[in-house]
Symmetry: C2
Subunit: 467 residues, 2 copies
Amino acid sequence: MKSRRDRSDLKAFFEPGSVAVFGSLKEGMGLGYGMVRNLLQFGYSGKIYPISPSCSGEVLGFRAYPAVTDVAEPIEAAIVITPPRTVPGIIEQCARKGVKAAVIVSENFAEAGGDGVKYQQQLVDIVHRTGIRIIGPNTIGVFNPASGFVTNPYLIIQDKIRKGGIAYCSQTGYVGLAARPWEERNVPISKLCDIGNKCDVDESDVLNYLADDPQTKVVAMHIENAKDGRSFMEAARRVVVRKPLLILKAGRSEAGAEAMVSHTASLAGNEQVYDAAIKQVGALRLSSWEEYWEIPRVFDSQPLPKGNRIAIITGAGGLGVVVVDVAVESGLTIAKFSPATKKRLRKLSPRLGSNPIDLGPVLTVKEDPFSVQREIIEAVLEDDNVDCIAVSVYTGFDALIAPIARMFDSLKNNKSKPMAIWIYGMKLRVLDEMLRQLEERGLPTYLDFELAVKALGMSAAYSGVHK
Amino acid sequence: MKSRRDRSDLKAFFEPGSVAVFGSLKEGMGLGYGMVRNLLQFGYSGKIYPISPSCSGEVLGFRAYPAVTDVAEPIEAAIVITPPRTVPGIIEQCARKGVKAAVIVSENFAEAGGDGVKYQQQLVDIVHRTGIRIIGPNTIGVFNPASGFVTNPYLIIQDKIRKGGIAYCSQTGYVGLAARPWEERNVPISKLCDIGNKCDVDESDVLNYLADDPQTKVVAMHIENAKDGRSFMEAARRVVVRKPLLILKAGRSEAGAEAMVSHTASLAGNEQVYDAAIKQVGALRLSSWEEYWEIPRVFDSQPLPKGNRIAIITGAGGLGVVVVDVAVESGLTIAKFSPATKKRLRKLSPRLGSNPIDLGPVLTVKEDPFSVQREIIEAVLEDDNVDCIAVSVYTGFDALIAPIARMFDSLKNNKSKPMAIWIYGMKLRVLDEMLRQLEERGLPTYLDFELAVKALGMSAAYSGVHK
């Protein structure tokens, strides 16, 4: 068995120079065909070798081969979506050909019981015998926006996915590109990875790889179990000293643990042990699926706060009270503004000066609401008693999008303290466009004020652990 | 002081036959003008009397009067957005004119301190002396889609808000029509009400009114404090014996309680006392702002479950494990399917039979995925061991919308057990349209699987308390 550090060299999975594709090459509907199509769609520039015993000629401009051993050039990676019984043979051939990394997308292995268990064991044996590495089976595999390498065989109606700093490592195909509006939400991605049944590469390998990955600024991990507790803790620690690690542990309940078995044949660990381990290594534990997707954005673009004192700027007073609760429950304290800030705010309106700042009564009486909002945000950014800022911005109609974007562009010192933005209004299209534009500017923007505040709480928690 | 039952006759606030509008009648920008415009926009068919000392002639086709006492006909309600110092005089005149109900939208009363406190006390005195009723001040007021009566003075770019069974009673203007995409989300509304500073009408009055309101099937209440604990508990109990009451209590933390004072001049109560009281009356406590907006939908259209056994149908296995945790944490148990159901499911695929049902491996191999999904949902609906069902449906692209809608239309017995639907995919517009169409069919549809499951948990909790 290789050492953990060698094991974590997953470069061939994320940026291979060449790839063999195993699966039906039938035009349009074939899943191997889909893989080739998706590689082209995302601009993968390596060499592609479609492999199928039943196909000759070309597939989307690439010469197809009956077997991988018929290819003269060396091949670095393989992606496989063929019936389970055929997979061990394919992997054996790949190993013989010198392929380093294989992503097995096919389902019906250990998670299905029966023969699937046997086929998966054969894969494990091949790994041990030959040194080929496997992600999967039963996975949607990986996506790397930088190299355009993608292993998803299904129709993906998005291709301009933003390159950024968030790595999602998950134990579900839902992390694949067809399940979420990555493009329209402008999510800044470094790597996506579904570890599937983990017959070889597991969560610890991926963590070690992401710890060293220069593109990745924050790691979000969804796991059902850790295959090897000690390795997992070591890998998690390696991540945490370099960048934040957010963990969503599924299978907390007894019933959830049972459900895991039929999903990825994972066995449950003790819930308290996970909790203690996550805390001990300095990772942050997420409490919901939504947090898993929404919280990492604040780490991609924003600086870490120097402390846990939050300023809350809200356009709806009642929401101020609601999110103060959330802030406190997230470990933040409500900043006390300095006398200078209070004076500055009171000059804008006698109603201002306390925290949360309720914009409502101010905006309804001012000629230029955006210049007032900007002055308020700047006053708070410059207050030494404030470490992070949650800002709510009413975005009710189209005509507000441009001035709001301009307001954030004109902010002084807006990179000195982390900020999270909540936008609200009555038109989905307007909100979607505003969110996209603010994300484009590196401003983490939320459609839920509580999530924005929780994200800042997580940011302060990481900052506190890693001072 | 009137008795609580008399006090809760709020008919004049929600369906007045005539209304006087106080506020700037300046065309376009005037807030009184905005109120008249909005009344017309939502189809209010009562008489409208714009009142302004500085205006004569017509406003949007209605004759304007310098004072309410100049109107010859009787007037039932008033809506007021004028400077605070002018409001007590206006309300005094309204009372003299016989107006029964006044909504005071103006801000800067008790919540602002200073003279505002004095003006608010003058309002209280007028109420006691004359019997006129007031909602507010510092409120966005009410909206009743059935009568078209709306008190919001601001621009509202939506008017086809669906009549339905959800009443939202809140202590924030965010409940107003300009802050959320009510129309595009197709939310079924019976009444909206912001109780503001509660100088007269308070949460107990509104609860008593909604308990008797035939349009309201479920009450969602956001409160910072209860003005009178005993009345609140009595009113809550009156609601709960008739329909579910969901409560979001803000100001849980000490800092949150402080923030309340500057928001609506509310004083904090003891947190444990609220918790015990909510439980004792059989109301359901919500834990987030998002739950407040999302959970009530399941009560509007779905039957109550007979027990707490949930079936989970998921297209992403990993999500099955995630929501099993949420189900258990929401008080649900994971249903054990009957032998007959297991047999039925296994006939569809050998991989089926356990709960959660993972559609993934089934759909990828079937010719007509929707007929399989339909059969699975029907099998589960007909299983006596199942009380409620969470269904996930992949809605990745336009072409799926119509077959998914047809699939739900063709379900047998789909009104026998509560169902909540999670849709997911990669295009916001497709998801928005699918959600709208399913909501149109009375199927509560979510963009977050955890919320769908929590909603069913709340439904079972209410059902359990009120058997």
